[in-house]
Structure formats: C-alpha cells, structure tokens
Symmetry: C2
Amino acid sequence: MAKLHLYTAGITAGFTILLTAAAAEDAALPKQAQEIFQPLPKDLASAELPIKRERVELGRSLFFDPRLTIDGNMSCSSCHQPAFYGTDACPRSIGVQQRPHLRNAPTVLNAGTLDIVHWRGDRDSLEDQVAKAVTSPITSGQPNEKAVIDRLSRVPGYVPLFAAAFPNKPQPMTVQNIADAISAYERTLLTPSPFDAYLAGDQNALSPAAHAGLAKFINTGCVACHNGVGVGGWTYQKFGVVEDYWNATGSDPIDKGRADVTKDPADLYVFRVASLRNVAMTPPYFHDGSVATLPEAVKVMERVQLGVALSDADTRDIVAFLESLTGELPANFAAAPVLPTGAVVPAK
Amino acid sequence: MAKLHLYTAGITAGFTILLTAAAAEDAALPKQAQEIFQPLPKDLASAELPIKRERVELGRSLFFDPRLTIDGNMSCSSCHQPAFYGTDACPRSIGVQQRPHLRNAPTVLNAGTLDIVHWRGDRDSLEDQVAKAVTSPITSGQPNEKAVIDRLSRVPGYVPLFAAAFPNKPQPMTVQNIADAISAYERTLLTPSPFDAYLAGDQNALSPAAHAGLAKFINTGCVACHNGVGVGGWTYQKFGVVEDYWNATGSDPIDKGRADVTKDPADLYVFRVASLRNVAMTPPYFHDGSVATLPEAVKVMERVQLGVALSDADTRDIVAFLESLTGELPANFAAAPVLPTGAVVPAK
C-alpha cells in the first residue's frame, strides 16, 4: 500500500511539472494570438461608408433577385448560397446559360473585411466587383447596363426601394447604385465566431483540441500568411512555395493567377491568401476547388507552402482550430427576403 | 336652414336604406363564403402521413440541396424560391443544363392541400412527383436513382439525418425516402392568410375592397372552379370555355394539356384549376406564364372562362380579395437550412 502510494505520488509530481509547462504556454497563447489576429469588428460602418438601413435592405433584395441576370434564373445567391455559407459547394461555379466560371466562388461572409477582392485581386472594391458582375457575360449575361436597368424598372416595387436608399438623386436606379446597395448589404454579413470570443479573453471559447491546433497553427508557420482579422484575405502569396501546387492537387488547367492581371512574371501562380473564416463550412478548397475536405486541404498547404508533413493528430488539431472560425449565419442572410413581384422575363 | 335640414335628412334616409341592404349582404357573405371555401387546416398530419420532425428536417435540407442534380447547381428551391413565394418569376422554368421546362412552376406553398399534382395531373402524389423529379432529365439530369444515392452518400452529414428520419430501415438512403422526406417537408408549408381569419369569423380581416371583391368573386362565377381549401387546385377545367385561351393570351406553342396524359379528346386544353392562395405573390400567371400581372390575369379569366367583361373597378376589387389570400412565408421555408458540408461534384 505504501509502495503504491509512493508510485502514485511520483506520477502526480510528473503531472504537475507537465501541467505547469502547459499552463505557462496556455497563458502565453492568448496574448500571442491577439498579436497575430484581430477579432471581427462589430460593424463596418465608417464615415465614407455609413451603413444605411434602406440601402442594406435594397441590397439584400437585389442580392437574392435572379431578375438581374439574362434568363432571370441566377442571382448573386446562386453561387453564394446561405445553405453553403455563402458558397455553392462546386469546385468552380456554373454561370448563366451554363457558362463556366474559371475559379471557385469564395464566400461573401465577412468579405467586407478583406482588402483584396477575387482570387487574383482583379477588382478594386466590393462596389467594383458588383458593378462589373451585373454585366459580366458569365455572371449575368446582360449585354449592358441599360438592359439591367430596363429589366429592374419593370418591377414596380423596386422604384420606392431605390428612392428610399438613394434619396435626393434624380435617377436612383443605376448600376452604380445597385453596386453600392449590394456592397452595403455584404458589409453587414459578419460572422463572429468562438475564436473571436477567445481573442476577447474567453479562454473557454476554444475546445482543448482547438486550443492545441491554434498553437500548432502558429508554430508551424501558417500564420505567416493567415493572420489579421480575416485569418488571411489581405495579402498575396504564390501557391506552391516549396512544391508545384498542380502536382500536389492535380489541378487542371494550370492557373497563372495574378500574373494574368498584372502581366508581371513575379506574380506567376500568385493568388489572394484565402480568409479562413468559416472555412470548415465551405468546401471544396482553393481557387480551383480541387480539394474536397479540410484535413486534405491542410495537408496540401503544409506540403506545398511550408514543406512540412504534420502527423494526422496535429492536422486534426489544426482542423479543430479552423472549426472555431465558424460563426452563425447572419439572420439577414439565412432568410431570403420576399422580393417585389413582377415577372420580367418574356415567355419563350 | 330648415330646407337644408330636410335635404340632409333625405340623404340620410337614403343612406340608411342602402346601408341596411349592404348590412344584410355583409351578414350573408361570411356564411356564403364558409359554404364555398374552407380555411387551411392547422397542419396536414394524419395517421397515414404523420409529420415527423426528423423527416421534415431532412426533407428541408434535401429541398435546398443542389447536390441532388447532375451539375450540383440546381435544387428544388431553384424553381421554388422563398423570395418568390415558392415560384421563380419565370414564365417557364429553366431546368438543369439550360433544358427548358414546358410549364410554369407552381408554388410549393400549400401544395400538400391540393388533390391534383402538376398542371396536367400527371403525378399521383407529392411523393410520386419528387421521386420522378430526382431523375427527370429536365429537373435533375441524374441518369438513374443509383447516381442520386451515390452522390448523397458522399456527403457524410446526411448519413445520420437519413438514419434519424427513417429508423429501423436497413438502407435509409433511398430515392423513395428522399421523396417521402421532401413531401413531409412540403406538407408543413402552409400559409394561413387574412381570408382564413375571415372564414374563422373575423370580418375585419378583409379590407372593404377585398370584401367587395369577395362578393364579386362569388357572384361572377369564379367560385364555380376556385373553391375549397385551396381556392382551386382540386378539379380540372378546360382553359378556354368561352374563347380560345391562346387567342386571349398569345400563348405559344399551344398546349394540349391533360389530353396528352389521358389520350382522351375530352381532355383537350384541360388543366388543373390553379389554387389562388398567394396568387398575388406569384406572377407570371397560367400554365404557360403568359400573363404578367394579376389584374390582367383576372381579365383573361373573366373573358375566356366566363364570357364577361367586368369594369376596372370590379377587377380591382377582385384583385384586393385575391391579395387577402397571401399568407406569411413559413419560417422553415423563408430561411434556408445550413446543409451538411461536402463537395461532391468533381472539378472540371
């Protein structure tokens, strides 16, 4: 009995040392995380971009309205579906009249927090993105801005909505105002997550696995790119630092990335670093949607960007951390608005 | 002063007579309406079709899930959108891979109350409709039931949902069960309206115009077909009783209707009488979506079915009555569910 007691005491002493080291690390981790990441702001209102209720409501209706597009059967919400956390679960989206999009649809959730728009940064702002999308041959199929405005002006219920959202304007229904309204709506689509609660000081907001995963996410070097408020989304990076990405993912065709936009050879295979907010809800992964699951995507990243091979257990912890970046769907996104009635597509 | 008094008294007396007549009519109208129409039931649960929560929840997910279809980019909710009260605002819907549907998408709201499924009654039940839709070349594009099940079984989150919805079955994931689940969900999509409150005895539930419209709807003969719980939806009728419908609407091509299903010449141009619940929210109108607005649709009906020409004021009143058939969107339809993750469409 005495022997057993001594043995148990020895185990307890060993445990205490381990726990003390772990406690010291635990205490340091939140501080370290707060230096690398920022929590989501409460809202994105600013002096230049005030969040006006009427404008947001109009933008919400337009976001869900397929009458913006040539056949009247696709809306922003077709590729950015609430059911898939603002994505469409397709590797690459299918646009109007079966026209293929070249890249995977990124989520619109928290898009207002990101400094770079689109995978290749080929749009200046959310407003620029929307304005170009409404006459894009793939996204909309409408031949020009006039066709878009002609279509919408045949929905009587939109007239007062535009007037309320853009008061004191002689012609409130313009493509620029459509872009301003949809962007204003998108800026309201914020999804605070358990990780934001953790950054605000609530250590219990992360599970033990997520906590361990956060430490590994930092120590493995993922945070070199995935940092800031979006846990990514504001810098560019070559996809395939250590190893070619198309070998690792079987991606086909090879995408030259930002080089096609800037014509700078230094931008070959360079893309926006993806924001990892809600990443667990938005497979498939990468600009080409070539990878179906999150553990697989983490392993590709480790291999081609960092040249490391983490164990399955480490990868699971990192995935647990990434799952802590999932927030709740905003109510004004989960539910579609009831749209002003009006059938504007001629019978065929 | 005395003269004015007498004159006023005369007017008042005349008014009293009119008001008394109107009051008598007012008193008779609710009773008359109660004989012609029935309010929506509270729910559609029955011994044969119990409403099971797990089955309804599964059905709701499947209803919104585009992964049921060949390219993964269309779901039931593509043609039956919450934003358009369960329709798509298109004259005729566009199916998968741009394949045209032959007829206008009727709303799924209150569909569980209707005795006839589809415009031509070519489906035996909601279950039969869904089961055929999931392998229809236009609706789904999936080549066979196996392809549908293979696709869904690659979404891990569906396995427990099917098991919970269909307990004690060795293989819960079947097309029949998909059909049962989606039908169970659809049976929950009921939209009680101001007119139901009126039928339940609340005379103030209808505006004066709607009240007048109800009387005209009855007295003009619309109720010969549009009656019962759905204000239509349970009988067949020839479209074009008095005058050919394609002359009145410019419909092209001419649709032989139910005759193509039954091969009975008596069924030439025969269609399901449309339920008028939520009709104000679901333009365009008729099986071909050939008419864009509700007043126009009422006038076509008056002309080709009843051979009458009501005044604009009478038509406005009837439209006001029809607007009283609009209920609120059910919460489990307005908001899309968050779907189990899983990207199942191979990259192209």
